[in-house]
Each structure stands twice: as C-alpha cells, then as structure tokens.
C-alpha cells in the first residue's frame, strides 16, 4: 500500500473509532513527522483537542501489510491514552519528581490503558492489535538487559503487558533483574487511574533510588577494600559480600562483573520506553532522504468563504 494512502486510512480509522464511542474530537491533527508514535491532548468541556504523532513515513513508499497493522495498533494505543489517561497527575509527578518518574509512569500506564481499551470493547480486536505490535517490536529489537537501570520503564511496559495476557515471545527478565522484586511489586498494585499509577511510580522510584544508593555504597566499600584494606575485606576482593543485608538478590548485586557491566550500559543508550521507537527504526529507510528536520506540517487547513454583499 502506498504511504499516503496508508496515512489517510489510519487517520480516518482513528476518527471513526473515536466517533463510534459517542465522542468527538473538537480538533484532531496528525503529524507524520515524529520519531515515535505519541499523542498530546487536552480534554475540556468542549471536547478533546488532540494531536497524534506518528513516525515519519514516505508518501510514495510501498508499505507492507504488517506495518499497516502495527500503525493501527499504535493508533488505538494512542486513542487509549485519550480515553483513559489523565494528564494532570502525570505532569505533576514529572514536574516534582523528575523525568525518570515520568518514564516509570509511562511504563506502568501503557499496559493499564491497553487493558482498559480491551475491557471497554471500544475496539473489538484491540488485544490482537496490541499483541501484534509488542511481538513485532520484541522480535525485531530483542528484550532489554535486565540489569540496566535505564531499561526499567521498558521492562515495566513489557511485563505489564505480559500480565495483560499477551503472548510475549521472551521469558520474563524480572527474576534476573536486581530490581525484580520492586518491579513485581509495582506491577501488582491495583491502579485504576493515572493518579494511582503516578503514586505507584513515585513510591517505586524511592525504592529504586534507595537500592541504587546502597549499591553505590557497597561499590565504594569494595573499592576501598581493594585499595588498602585487603586483609580485612579479602572476601570482597573476590566479589562476594560478607553480609548482603536488605538486598533482594544479594548474589547478583555483589558480583563486581555485573556491576561493571551495569555502569558501562548506563553510559550508553537506554532502551526507550516507547514502542514506537522500534517502528521508527523499521521505517527509517522509507523516510525521504535529505529532508530538513523541521519538516513543514499542516497545522490547520481551512477553506475561505465568499461573503457577498
């Protein structure tokens, strides 16, 4: 299917699906210029004003059918945010607790709203679409490194979907993760709104930061032991802590090799929480080459009228 036809089809589908739920957009615009799929919206008494962003896609490219399914899946996912996400608690949490909490909320909120879409029956084949998107992404990208701190939001997004009942083509990485218990705890919390999710994310962030601090202290201790107190901390030098108190997975936390690897990965690029990033990569060869990053978009197209005397 030609790119521009696919775009029009996806846009029409979004409007039609939203309308079928008895609601209408006060204003809806699409931008096929992003790196990932995303939605920015406001809900007020007059209706919903939304802008949905999709990955850049060449109008003339021949797009495979599977990508079409993925795009519809993303579109329904973004509609899920419009239906079931509240912006205010999310924005406040990010404002007061930092962008990492924002990413944690995203990781927890995505599976929640997808389950809400499935339960609502707004889109009868929502489960199939969401499942297809997650499988496509994971099969292409692989799963995240379980011991990389920056991958936590992505792990939450995937493991949350596993709890939704999707067939994830990889086994759970939570047992191998140093923060597995905390993530498991967060995913099991009964959250019925974005505000609940934000509360869970804030608490999870505190737990993770605390654990991280303990790890760092432990690392410093190990460093110090290696430097001058070899006799006293001889065991630490071999990478085994003498008494790893308050550690969920002491054996893994204590291994210097693991810690070293983690430190290296934190300097590199984290696996993004947005599944749309993978789609963007998938479509990157279809993006018109040489186009400026500031691509013009039609923010609004209107028709002038003739006012005759």
């Amino acid at each position: 299917m030609l790119g521009f036809k696919l775009k029009r089809g996806v846009e029409a589908s979004v409007e039609r699906i939203f309308k079928s739920t008895g609601r209408e957009f006060d204003s809806l615009s699409f931008s096929w210029t992003g790196k990932t799929a995303a939605v920015s919206f406001t809900r007020d008494i007059n209706g919903v004003v939304a802008r949905i962003i999709f990955p850049n896609l060449d109008d003339k490219a021949d797009i495979p059918e599977s990508t079409h399914h993925d795009l519809v899946g993303y579109a329904v996912h973004e509609l899920g945010h419009v239906w079931f996400t509240e912006n205010e608690p999310w924005d406040l949490a990010r404002q007061y607790h930092g962008s990492f909490v924002g990413a944690l909320i995203n990781g927890l909120e995505d599976p929640r709203i997808e389950q809400c879409v499935i339960d609502s029956g707004y889109v009868p084949n929502a489960r199939v679409l969401f499942n297809h998107v997650v499988r496509t992404v994971l099969l292409k990208e692989g799963y995240a490194q379980a011991d990389d701190f920056k991958n936590i939001p992505f792990m939450l997004a995937i493991e949350g979907r596993r709890l939704n009942g999707y067939s994830i083509p990889f086994p759970s990485v939570l047992p191998d993760s140093p923060w597995g218990d905390d993530l498991e705890w967060a995913l099991r919390q009964p959250a019925t709104s974005t505000a609940d999710v934000a509360d869970v994310a804030i608490e999870l962030n505190l737990r993770l930061q605390q654990k991280r601090q303990e790890q760092q202290e432990q690392q410093e201790q190990q460093g110090g032991g290696q430097g001058g107190q070899g006799g006293q901390d001889g065991q630490d030098g071999q990478g085994k802590p003498s008494k790893p108190s308050k550690q969920g997975k002491p054996s893994k936390q204590g291994k210097p090799s693991k810690q070293g690897k983690q430190g290296k990965q934190e300097e590199g690029k984290a696996k993004a929480v947005e599944l749309g990033d993978a789609l963007s990569d998938q479509l990157s060869d279809l993006i018109p080459q040489g186009r400026s990053s500031r691509v013009p978009i039609a923010t609004s197209v209107s028709i002038a009228t003739f006012n005759w005397e």
Binding site: K35, T36, V39, W90, G102, P288, S292, A298, T299
Partner: protein
C-alpha cells in the same frame, strides 16, 4: 470582508485578452480538447465492404471488410494554484499606475479558465495563503521527547471547484485580488492539491502553480516533484519575478509582468506537448 458581486463580475468581464497569444491559445486548445476520435478499421472478416480491398478479394482474400472504430479521448484535469500571499501586492509602476502582480495573475487565471472551459477540460482554480507566518511548534510527547515542527496554517480559497461551471464562478474569479494577504504555505498547498488532483479520473493531470515565493527548501520540493511523478501528475511552477522556482522540475520565471500570460501559456503548452508525445 464583504465582496461586491457586481463589481467582481465586472472585473471578470473586463479582463482583456492576453496579447500575442492567439497561436499559443489555439495550440493549447487543440492539445487539451477532449474529442473522441472516430475512424475505420480494415482487414475485418465482417462489417462494411471495403472497396479498397477489392483487389485482395480478387486474389481470394476474405478479410475485406471494415468497421467503425472509436478511440476514447484523453481527458485532462488541471488545477491552477494561485499564491495569494501579501507579496503578490508588489508590482511595477507603468504610466503613473501601479500594476500589482496579483492583478496580472488574476487576468492570466481568468484567461486560462476561459480557455480550459472552451476545451472542455475539468479544472479547478484554488488560491492559498496563510494568516500568520510559520509557527515553530515544539510538541512534547509522553516520554518527554520534543519534536520541532514548522506549522503551516493553510487557507484555501476555492475560486472554482471541480464540476462547477465557469459561469457560476465569474464573480469569484473576479475577486482574486481581494484575498491577497499573509504568508505562503507552499508545501502544504502543493501537497494537498496533488492529493486532490490525483483523485480525478482524467488520464492527463496538470498542477499549474503561479507564485512569487522565494527560498523554497529544495529537498521538500524534490519530494513533492517525486510525489507528483508517482501520482502521474505534471507539476509546472511559474515564478513571478522570482528565480527560486528553479527547484521545481518544470518551471519558468517571468520577470516582465506584461509577459506573464504569454509565458505561462507557452510553458503549459510545452509541458502538454511533452506529455502528449510521451503518452
């Protein structure tokens, strides 16, 4: 803004013929006219007896009949896209009177409309402008990423729509100069016009752009040119006192406003001929 219908109609009717364009117009007319061609086929085994085949009949041939044959005409669809940005108010002073670009464009558009109508070509005339200059929007996604987008708020003015008769659009075409304002959302206007034109059933499709815009982004126009080619549309840009239209594949620049009509018609004819030979 209220428009005076009578005055606009008067303006339309008062539009003079473009000078020295008789031959150009008749050539254009011949190329654009959609007439079904009727001919006769020969060497048929049934039909009307072909008297020229009697010699073959004497030698025992049986396929000596001929039949009426109809070749369907190649229909054309043309979109005339007129830049209505405020810079079109600029012009030249001649005999103490200022002739604005938009006035000349209006005259050329009206002449072109008359010609296309006479040739029974499906066409529409659309103007475009933007109330304010490009807005640079930063869109923040849930994941905290920001995207920088250049927003174009494009306003289309449908002077003549598809399937609307020219008679009904006389006043609207006469009012072209009244809509001149704002900036030039060229990318959006051209892209939407291409997509609109692609929906027409006609075999030949031409997008004719009259603009004085400057500083086109070359890669964007190339993208639009490629899109037009893919959609089977010939896109012709006529630059009015600007050389920047050179980024279009098919373009011409008119520096002397008086020559706009002649050059515009000549470019259209040239494009059509190329198309005609190719098809």
């Amino acid at each position: 803004m209220k428009l005076n219908r009578a005055e606009c109609e008067k303006t339309y009717l008062a539009t003079p013929e473009i000078q020295n364009s008789g031959a150009l117009r008749s050539n254009l007319m011949r190329l654009l006219r959609s007439i079904d061609l009727v001919g006769w086929s020969s060497h048929e085994e049934s039909g009307r007896l072909d008297r020229r085949a009697l010699t073959r009949f004497a030698s025992g041939s049986v396929n000596i009949f001929s039949r009426r044959q109809m070749i369907e005409a190649e229909n054309s669809a043309v979109t005339v896209l007129v830049d209505l940005s405020s810079s079109m108010r600029k012009g030249v002073v001649k005999d103490g009177e200022t002739i604005e670009r938009i006035q000349v464009v209006r005259d050329v558009t009206i002449q072109l409309s008359r010609l296309l109508d006479r040739a029974k070509v499906d066409f529409n005339v659309t103007g475009f402008f933007q109330f304010r200059s490009d807005s640079c929007t930063e869109v923040k996604t849930h994941s905290g990423e920001t995207h920088e987008l250049r927003g174009e708020d494009c306003v289309f003015v449908p002077f003549k729509q598809w399937n609307e008769t020219l008679v009904r659009c006389v006043a609207k075409l006469g009012a072209i100069t009244n809509f001149c304002r704002g900036a030039t959302p060229a990318y959006t206007a051209i892209e939407r016009s291409l997509l609109d034109l692609s929906k027409q059933d006609s075999k030949r499709k031409i997008l004719f752009i009259l603009t004085d815009a400057e500083a086109f982004e070359g890669s964007h126009i190339k993208h639009l040119d490629d899109l037009a080619e893919r959609l089977g549309i010939k896109m012709v840009a006529v630059g009015i006192q600007t050389y920047d239209v050179a980024v279009f594949k098919h373009h011409t620049t008119v520096m002397d406003l008086q020559g706009l009509g002649e050059q515009a018609f000549a470019k259209l004819l040239q494009t059509l001929r190329r198309r005609h030979v190719a098809s």
